[in-house]
Symmetry: C2
Subunit: 205 residues, 2 copies
Amino acid sequence: MNFSSKLLENAVNEFGKLPGIGQKTALRLVLHLLNQDYASVEKFGNTFIHLKNNIRFCKSCYNISDFEICEICASHKRDHSLICVVEDSRDVMAIENTNQYNGLYHVLNGLISPMDGVGPSDLTVDLLVERVKAGEAVEVIFALSATMEGDTTIFYLHKRLKEYPLKISTLARGIAFGGEIEYADELTLGRSITTRVPYENSLTK
Amino acid sequence: MNFSSKLLENAVNEFGKLPGIGQKTALRLVLHLLNQDYASVEKFGNTFIHLKNNIRFCKSCYNISDFEICEICASHKRDHSLICVVEDSRDVMAIENTNQYNGLYHVLNGLISPMDGVGPSDLTVDLLVERVKAGEAVEVIFALSATMEGDTTIFYLHKRLKEYPLKISTLARGIAFGGEIEYADELTLGRSITTRVPYENSLTK
C-alpha cells in the first residue's frame, strides 16, 4: 500500500502485527483512532503499556491476576483437591463461564510444540509438579485442545505426574451439543460410539 | 465475560471500542500483546499516541501527510487541473493503487449524514470551494460511495460548485470486473444497459 505519511504507515504496521489483522483492517482501525480526541487515543495507548507493566500472574496457578494469589486460588468455596490444567487464561474464562466446575486451575501458558520451539521448560510444568507434590490435589483434569500439541502435552504431563497418587482425567470427547451426525468427523463419531453413555446420564442437568 | 483481572478487562475494553472487534477477538489481541516483551508493547502503545500528536493534514487537499503540503499536491508531475473529491485517506490510497489517475485529491473527511449528525460544516467543503475559486481546477470528479450519504454529499457539493466554470463528473457505475450478471442488483444492471459503451471503449488498456 502507498501511504501518504510515515507516521500513518508505522501505526498501521503496529496493528498489522496482531494476529488476524491484515493491512486493510489495520488502516481502518488507525483511521478510527485518528478520529477520536487526544485523551481517548492517549488512554488507548497507555492502557496496554500499563497492563504490561503491572500485570501479575497468580503465584499458585499462574492465571492472570491483579493480586499475588488469584481470586479462585484464594477462595475457600472452591474445591482445592481438583486441578484443571489449561493452556491459557482464555480457557479459564471459558470453563468459568460454564458454571460446571468448582475446583482450581493451572495455566500452562502454552502447549508443547516442537515445531514452534516450545518445550516443557517454556511452560509452567515444574510449578504444576510442585503443586501436586505438595499433596492437596486428588485429581488433575487435562482440559487441553484436541490437537497434536494438546495430545503431546498431555502425554508429557502424564509421564511427569504418574508417580503421584492422583486421579488423572481428560475432557470427554464426542458430538457437540447442536452438532449434526452427518457433519461429525469419523474420529469423533467413532469415539462417541465406543464411549457411549447410558441414556439417563446423557440428560442435561 | 468473567475477567480475573481489572487491568485485563480494561485492556480488552479498549480494543473492544474499535470497529469490528468484539470481546473475544479483543481478548485474543490483549493476550497476544501480553506475550510480547516490554519494549514491543511500549512501542505499540506509544505509536498511536505519537501518531495522534504529530499527524498533519495537507493544507491544500486535507489528506493525511507528514508535511504542510502533501507529496501529491507538491508534485509537478501531477495534473493540477483535476481534483478528485473523496471521503477519506483510504480512498486516496485505493485510487492511487489503480495507477489510473494523475490529478490531485480533496479529502472531505466524511460524508454528509443527517442521521449521524454530520453536516457540511463538519467536512472540508469550504476548503474545496476556495480551491475551486482560486481557479486552477478545470474538472472536479466526485469519487464518493454509491450510498445515500454519498449521493446527498454529491448533491450538496454540486449545488455549491455549479456557479463556477467547471466540468463536474462522477465515477462510472456498472457491473464490476469479474461480476456475474445474474447476481448484479437491478439498479446497477439497468444503469449499465442505459449507459452502455461502444465495444472498442470497453477493452482494458
